[in-house]
């Protein structure tokens, strides 16, 4: 009996340990090690901080980093502002018989590849695109304008891509909000804004936090959307990493950038959890 138990444990433990150590722990240790290695004049690899010094000395690098971080925060905030009313509508306002249908409708676009969604926006927005076609035909625009490749469209694309990860957690927390709380507040004379800030948002905060963490992290690490919708001006930090790895073939510099991005992303996740006193286990469920 005891022997059997040991075998069961070993049977379940070994694939999981192999997975986590070979594909997660060791590669990330390697990433850290590589970021401190640099080729010296003789062509030998030595230990050095210079990959990190490069980052701080070259304004284009750290400016891109800061820009990516700030835009990711902006995207997270916008996603929240757009998602909250939708989640509220589906859980509290719409007739219950449509609830399930609307929720499925909400999820459906996100099953489709991110690339297809971004491509859809590209044919909508570009100079020869669908929106320009309608606007010029209606006489609103005299000439088609290029709407792609600006910061605004890049943010639009990022908000669109990450919407799901905000709507779903907020919908599920609002589902558990007791309607009588809102009714009571209403009977006591509270107006809409008071109810929103005193009841709805405090109750929804676990969902908001987990949504925000996921959205922030995904936006920060996104490569596809900034690259295709922001064009050459997108200056997203993942593109710097890609350039170092694939274009310049400077893997050590790229590792340093990668590690910095990982630190930023982990820091924000940790901070978000600390501020709201939650743990990772609860958030991912």
């Amino acid at each position: 009996m005891k022997n059997q138990k040991r075998w069961a444990l070993l049977f379940f433990l070994s694939p999981v340990v192999l997975w986590l150590f070979l594909l997660i722990v060791l590669p990330h240790i390697d990433l850290l090690v590589m970021s401190f290695r640099v080729e010296d004049d003789a062509g030998k690899m030595t230990w050095s901080f210079s990959n990190y010094l490069n980052f701080f000395e070259e304004p284009i690098y750290w400016l891109t980093f800061v820009r990516t971080a700030i835009y990711s925060i902006l995207v997270t905030f916008l996603t929240f502002v757009i998602a909250l009313p939708v989640a509220f509508y589906i859980t509290k306002v719409v007739a219950p018989k449509f609830q399930g249908f609307l929720f499925v409708l909400l999820l459906l676009p996100f099953w489709v590849s991110e690339l297809v969604r971004v491509y859809g926006w590209m044919i909508l927005l570009r100079e020869s695109g669908v929106i320009n076609h309608f606007l010029t035909n209606l006489g609103i625009l005299r000439q088609p304008v290029e709407m792609l490749y600006t910061d605004a469209t890049m943010i639009l694309g990022l908000v669109y891509t990450s919407m799901l990860f905000m709507v779903v957690p907020i919908t599920s927390v609002l589902d558990s909000l007791d309607n009588s709380l809102i009714e009571a507040a209403y009977d006591l004379g509270a107006n809409m804004w008071t109810i929103l800030f005193k009841i709805i948002i405090p109750h929804a905060s676990p969902g908001i936090v987990s949504g925000s963490i996921v959205v922030f992290m995904l936006t920060l690490g996104n490569y596809l959307t900034p690259n295709l919708m922001g064009g050459k001006n997108s200056l997203w930090f993942t593109e710097q990493i890609y350039n170092q790895f694939i274009a310049s073939f400077n893997w050590n510099q790229g590792s340093a950038f990668g590690f910095l991005l990982l630190v930023l992303s982990s820091l924000v996740v940790w901070l978000g959890l600390k501020l709201t006193r939650q743990n990772l286990r609860k958030v991912v469920q």
Binding site: V112, Y119, I123, I182, Y223, N227
Partner: protein, 284 residues
């Protein structure tokens, strides 16, 4: 405010309009992509020049439909194979993970659980580069010290499979764990009393109970693998997966063939998604 409270007409209409706008925003890019797949024009744009199926079926010098477009067909096949192996690996290891964290006890369980969640908060790009680095380190080590050239350590098919598996397995673990939590363990005890050993119990009882969750997680794993871009980007060799291949085409200008592929992807994934949803509802 809510259903039970009196509300003004303006409030209701504004809210309805907002939600309508939101859904338009959600579906506009997909609908436009699908519609333009059938436009009889050299470019995926308006004006509408008539309905055609040529972007699917044609094999003309100036127009090659998707069914005759060998490069794209190859990449779809690569994606299918990658997704198949990722699903197989991720469901197996993920199910082991679920059993491990729900039913077993050992030292450092909390630590390992935390580690298992990590792939969810590591950006896909970072996962891609660190696995690339590590496989390269291993490859160089094997080559210089043991004089063996290991194909697996070079960017290519199997590295893509491993890279995608590394985070999709976490997802499977979470989904299967959630179902395993609801399992009534007295059933196991009953089977044990009747003389079954641990593995027989798992095989004949627990796994039967978990089957809907495992199938659902497998479907999600398949879709996630099929459309993964960020991690794959760094690990791909000469066999490009569909998203990588589409990306290269979209970046360098586009033809309605991409719309035709997108149309098939949208229809295909929607069907898998709806089937998955239907069966998971039925399971409850």
């Amino acid at each position: 405010m809510i259903r039970t409270l009196p509300t003004s007409n303006t409030y209701n209409w504004c809210f309805k309009l907002y939600v309508l706008l939101y859904f338009t925003f959600l579906f506009a890019p997909l609908v436009v992509t699908c519609v333009l797949a059938f436009n009889d024009s050299q470019f995926p744009s308006l004006p509408w020049k008539g309905f055609t199926l040529e972007w699917f079926t044609a094999d003309l010098p100036e127009r090659v439909g998707i069914f005759n477009d060998q490069i794209n067909l190859d990449s779809i096949w690569v994606s299918f194979r990658v997704a198949f192996f990722v699903t197989l690996l991720a469901t197996t290891v993920g199910t082991c993970g679920a059993f491990l964290f729900e039913q077993e006890d050992f030292r450092f369980k909390q630590g390992l659980y935390f580690l298992m969640l990590c792939p969810l908060v590591i950006p896909g790009v970072i996962l891609g580069i660190s696995i690339l680095l590590f496989s390269n380190t291993l490859g160089t080590y094997f080559e210089t010290n043991l004089n063996i050239d290991v194909e697996l350590f070079r960017p290519g098919f199997w590295l893509v499979v491993l890279g995608q598996f590394s985070f999709i397995a976490t997802l499977v673990t979470l989904v299967v764990s959630a179902r395993l939590k609801k399992f009534d363990r007295t059933l196991e005890e009953a089977a044990m009393n009747l003389g079954a050993n641990r593995f027989e119990v798992i095989w004949y009882i627990t796994l039967k109970f978990l089957r809907p969750a495992i199938i659902g997680a497998g479907a999600v794993a398949f879709l996630m693998s099929f459309e993964n871009f960020n991690t794959t980007l760094f690990l791909v060799g000469y066999e490009a997966t569909l998203p990588i291949n589409l990306y290269l085409q979209v970046r360098d200008g586009s033809t309605p063939v991409i719309n035709a592929i997108s149309f098939m992807l949208i229809v295909g994934t929607s069907m898998v998604a709806l089937a998955n949803l239907y069966f998971s509802r039925k399971g409850e």
